[in-house]
């Protein structure tokens, strides 16, 4: 997979790591492809990941360019975008 990803035009930074991704892919799909299924922690500290895929459930919330609580499933990547998930620490 990595060998294919390198050819992609967009560079995003996921939890401090630079990743090349295709144009138009959503942040949720990028995280899934990186194996980050637990993208956030719930109010009681449980791992959570995407569920509805269409902006309804708010389970895929991550921090994008320092803005917290962004829905990864509704956000398309942009070059230079910084994404931080719960698996960061």
């Amino acid at each position: 997979m990595t060998s294919r990803i390198v050819q992609f035009p967009i560079t995003v930074v996921v939890d401090g790591e630079r990743v090349q991704v295709p144009n138009g892919i959503t942040v949720a799909a990028v995280l899934f492809n990186l194996g980050i299924t637990a993208v956030r922690q719930s109010v009681s500290g449980q791992p959570r990941g995407p569920v509805c895929g269409m902006g309804v459930c708010f389970e895929c919330r991550v921090t994008i360019d320092s803005r917290p609580h962004q829905r990864a499933c509704l956000t398309a990547v942009a070059d230079g975008m910084h994404i931080r998930t719960a698996s960061h620490s």
């Binding site: 492809n33 269409m54 309804v56 459930c57 509704l74």
Partner: protein, 465 residues
């Protein structure tokens, strides 16, 4: 037809229906004859037909593209063949589509509605004489132990993730739920290289067979189902089978399945769950439209019980894209109360509604699913409220006040339909804001010195195109 103030109805076909005086009153507002909320098949058909009549139509949709969930484009792929003619017509119709936008509040005034939306992080106000609600549906989830684990996703949610670029190659997947959506999702996952462990339909074999037999009038649907099935023939499709628990630590690693007699485990990387669809009626209820059995009540011309508010598609009852298209056409013709839709359209709708009702009966969740959640099972994923904490409550309102169930960011959209099934609760009232929004959007005001902007004659419209 009710008489509207300011000479609203005096305009003839093709003339601007928006009272120019309104634009002076609300200088920052995008003004339109019709706002369509939602750009799935129903919203697209409604917007197209209304705009083709000469009405000024604004369509807002939260997605990155028009098409809703059913016509979502696969990353790097083309538009679905059935969507192409409509998208072409929409583009030529003059209707203006504003993506990445969700409605926060709707306020009726003397002769229309002021809609506040968050549009790509900024406030957007639309003033419209009529509203067409095309808000679609979401999946019905019924909680069970482990359903909160990462890797447990909606069936439609998985399809959305797959289409938006996620790779499922080599992943083990169990699909457990109900309804016709399972087949196309299983087919797409198989095409994408996923290892489909099991596709489990909770409805009984007898029900599914009866449903298939009822499709004799529309053999195209049977052919379609067979084509989907052919794409995952090497995997098991089981009826009368459902998931009882998901297991794992940081992500799902196996699931417990049952057919009512025996229970077994299936190792998996992904569990797709969902028991059919729930109409999105929150905005309708905010406006005060009557709802029945969880769907917006409409008349033969798609009018809701609130004047100048129409509704189409799944929000008026689950029926699929072909029905949404017909309802959208009817609403696009009848909005503004210019003329009734043709008998031919009304007949097509009646046929599709009848087959949709049969489908809902067959795939209704079985009673056994009511015993799935234990006292410690989390039901509200936003606030981590357990089933035991809400079971004793008399109603949704009481449970909310005591436990915060349904009061997190999703505002109960994920847990409440399941809890209504489990505990026979009635849906609680809906208040503004109908969805979490930025404070800068909620507190935004129309500037005194704002430049008048009329979407169809100014640069505002171009900027959003």
């Amino acid at each position: 037809m009710p008489d509207r103030s300011c000479g609203w109805n005096a305009h003839s076909h093709g003339e601007p229906l928006v009272n120019p005086a309104r634009i002076e009153t609300y200088p920052e507002i995008v003004a339109a004859d019709v706002i369509v909320i939602g750009a799935g098949p129903g919203g697209i058909a409604a917007a197209t037909c209304a705009a083709e009549r000469g009405l000024r139509v604004v369509v807002v949709d939260r997605g990155l593209d028009a098409g809703g969930q059913i016509w979502r484009r696969k990353l790097g792929g083309g538009v679905a063949p059935e969507a192409q003619p409509w998208l072409t017509r929409l583009a030529a119709s003059g209707a203006r589509l504003i993506n990445e936008t969700f409605v926060v509040d709707v306020r009726p005034d003397a002769d229309g509605f002021e809609i506040l939306a968050e549009s790509a992080g900024r406030p957007l106000r639309v003033w419209a004489a009529s509203i067409i609600l095309a808000t679609g549906a979401r999946e019905l989830f019924i909680p069970f132990d482990g359903w909160t684990l990462p890797g447990v996703m909606g069936i439609g949610g998985t399809q959305a993730l797959l289409k938006s670029g996620a790779s499922f190659a080599g992943k083990r997947v169990v699909i457990a739920g109900s309804g016709p959506l399972m087949l196309p999702v299983a087919a797409s996952l198989a095409d994408a290289g996923a290892r489909l462990v099991l596709v489990a339909e909770q409805a009984s074999r007898a029900s599914v067979v009866r449903f298939a037999a009822s499709l004799w009038k529309t053999p195209s649907l049977l052919v379609q189902a067979a084509k989907y099935r052919a794409r995952f023939l090497t995997s098991t499709y089981a009826t009368g089978t459902w998931v009882t628990a998901a297991h794992g630590v940081d992500t799902v690693t196996s699931v417990s399945m049952t057919d009512g007699r025996r229970t077994w485990r299936e190792p998996t990387d992904v569990l797709c769950m969902g028991y059919g669809l729930v109409p999105n009626i929150e905005i309708a209820r905010l406006i005060g439209c009557e709802t029945r059995d969880g769907a917006i009540v409409v008349d033969s011309q798609q009018r809701t019980t609130v004047a100048h508010v129409l509704a189409v598609g799944e929000a008026t009852g689950i029926g699929g894209a072909p029905l949404s298209l017909v309802e959208g056409e009817i609403a696009g013709i009848s909005v503004g109360e210019q003329r009734p839709a043709s008998r031919q359209l009304l007949r097509r709708r009646a046929t599709l509604v009848a087959s949709a009702r049969r489908m809902l009966d067959v795939f209704a969740p079985r009673a056994e699913l009511r015993s799935l959640p234990a006292a410690g099972t989390i039901v509200c994923r936003c606030e981590d409220v357990t089933y035991g904490a809400v079971q004793g409550a008399a109603c949704a309102r009481q449970a909310k006040l005591y436990t915060r169930v349904g009061m997190g960011p999703c505002q109960g959209r994920t847990c409440m339909p399941g809890l209504e099934f489990l505990l026979a609760w009635q849906a609680d009232t809906v208040r503004s804001p109908v969805e979490p929004a930025l404070v800068s959007v909620l507190s935004s005001e129309i500037a005194d010195n704002a430049t008048p902007s009329f979407l169809f004659n100014s640069s505002v419209g171009e900027a959003y195109q």
